[in-house]
Amino acid sequence: MFEEQYRKLNQEVKPSDALNEETFALMKEAQDHRAAMPPKPLRWKPAVLIPAAGTVAAVLVATILLAFWMSDRNVNKEAFDAVGNLDEIISDEEEPSQSEGQEQTENQPDTEPEDAESSGTSVDENQSFSGSSAPSDDDGKTSENPTKDPAEPPAEPETDEPDQSMAADPRNPDIINDESTTTYTTIRAFLNALAKKETPGYGTNYYNARDLIIVPSKLPEQTRFRHFHLDNKTGKYSYSYIFTANGKEYFLDIEVDAETPKTLRDLNVQKQLLAEEEILTGKKGNQLFYLFGQNDEVTVTLTEYLSSTALTEDEVATLLAQFELERCSLANYLIDITF
């Protein structure tokens, strides 16, 4: 009988204890991660719809009040026509009522507090990671805020400022997307994307990437995390940092050309090889070269931030001596990398 044969064949198929243990660990990690996650930032739909609904509601109220006042005035007109005091009464009433109506409608487009709130979550994160920002990131943000009124309270421009420098996408200021690259302006945003399995470059194997990621183990003092770039097609990634030394600002770019294992089996094989993995390093000019194992190459480039001035040999030697890379699990490394 086919059924018996099929059953017999499948009865032998069972998950291994190692797989069960690994799955349990992942579940636990995912649960802990979710519990530690901050509340989701307001997404673009509510961010637009809530102020819009508020505006519409306020306009409706103003219209109703106006209509009520008009009808009231007509009643008054009829009433006062009879006694001949209409002009006096209307001129007394009209002025304050109109100005009150104007005040109300001026205050209606109250979209900014919502925007400020949603960008407010990014402010804390970005401030702690990014510090100064490149002028090239300024594009587009202001044009996406056409309702912004220069006469608004001073608190709002203050909260908008980091957004303008960091994010082109108002939906999630920590993530910048273009056709081929996703840029995460905070490690937290990148990790959240990994946890939500939204990282296109890694597809379903995000845990594989997390377990084998190459990150700095040592950085110069006062280094600030800048960006995490991820190529959506190849899965290659790069970090950048900014740090200050000798009164100058430097830019450190770490470009990783590593292949993410496609399957759990490949991952396990690679993890077993890690203990014996040889790391070769080389140096040329302002660049350090790493070779992890046989295939995974990393290029570290040091430049002066926003300057094309060539660095001296001593400068490069001193600064790059304060830098080291290692391969590790990003989940375990989270605290160290997000200083």
């Binding site: 099929y6 017999k8 064949l9 032998e12 069972k14 998950p15 579940m27 636990k28 379903t204 496609k262």
Partner: protein, 160 residues
């Protein structure tokens, strides 16, 4: 609702074999089945569905596994599939080898239905409900799968 360690272990022990067997039946590849296995349990943590009964919970696992396997198969290019041939389980000895080869040759769309019908013991109506398919589609899939298996196994060596 957060699961305790004990609950997580119990869920893995209770539904793990079912999920793994279905993934293996569908994907015919150990590495992918292991990925699917982990992904399904992670989805449980992420989506935290509420279940009315153990049967409902098992149906959820089966549906998520089947859907994930289908998505995974869509993603694989021909080249990747060719490469994965190397990863496949070694053929079972004797009669099982013929059956295993027949199942390998069976189109992916029929494998889940065959597995749920012959191994899990679901009726065609239940399969239709779990997989959110039409019952007549399930029946016709099962019929075609049987015919293909029978044809493959040299004209009825196995009584399909």
């Amino acid at each position: 609702m957060a699961y305790t360690d004990e609950q997580m272990r119990r869920i893995i022990a209770e539904y793990g074999p079912c999920v793994y067997r279905l993934a293996m039946a569908q994907l015919r590849n150990q590495a992918d089945a292991e990925d699917t296995y982990q992904e399904v349990f992670l989805r449980l943590i992420r989506s935290k569905p509420e279940f009315e009964s153990p049967a409902h919970q098992k149906a959820w696992f089966i549906r998520v596994t089947a859907n994930y396997c289908r998505d995974l198969q869509k993603k694989h290019s021909r080249r990747e599939l060719a490469l994965m041939e190397q990863d496949q389980q070694p053929a079972a000895p004797g009669e099982n080898a013929a059956l295993s080869a027949a199942l390998d040759a069976l189109p992916e769309k029929y494998r889940t239905v065959v597995h749920l019908y012959y191994y899990e013991g679901y009726t065609t109506e239940e399969i239709a409900h779990v997989l959110e398919m039409n019952a007549s589609t399930v029946r016709s899939s099962l019929k075609r799968a049987r015919k293909r298996l029978k044809d493959f196994m040299e004209g009825g060596k196995a009584d399909v």
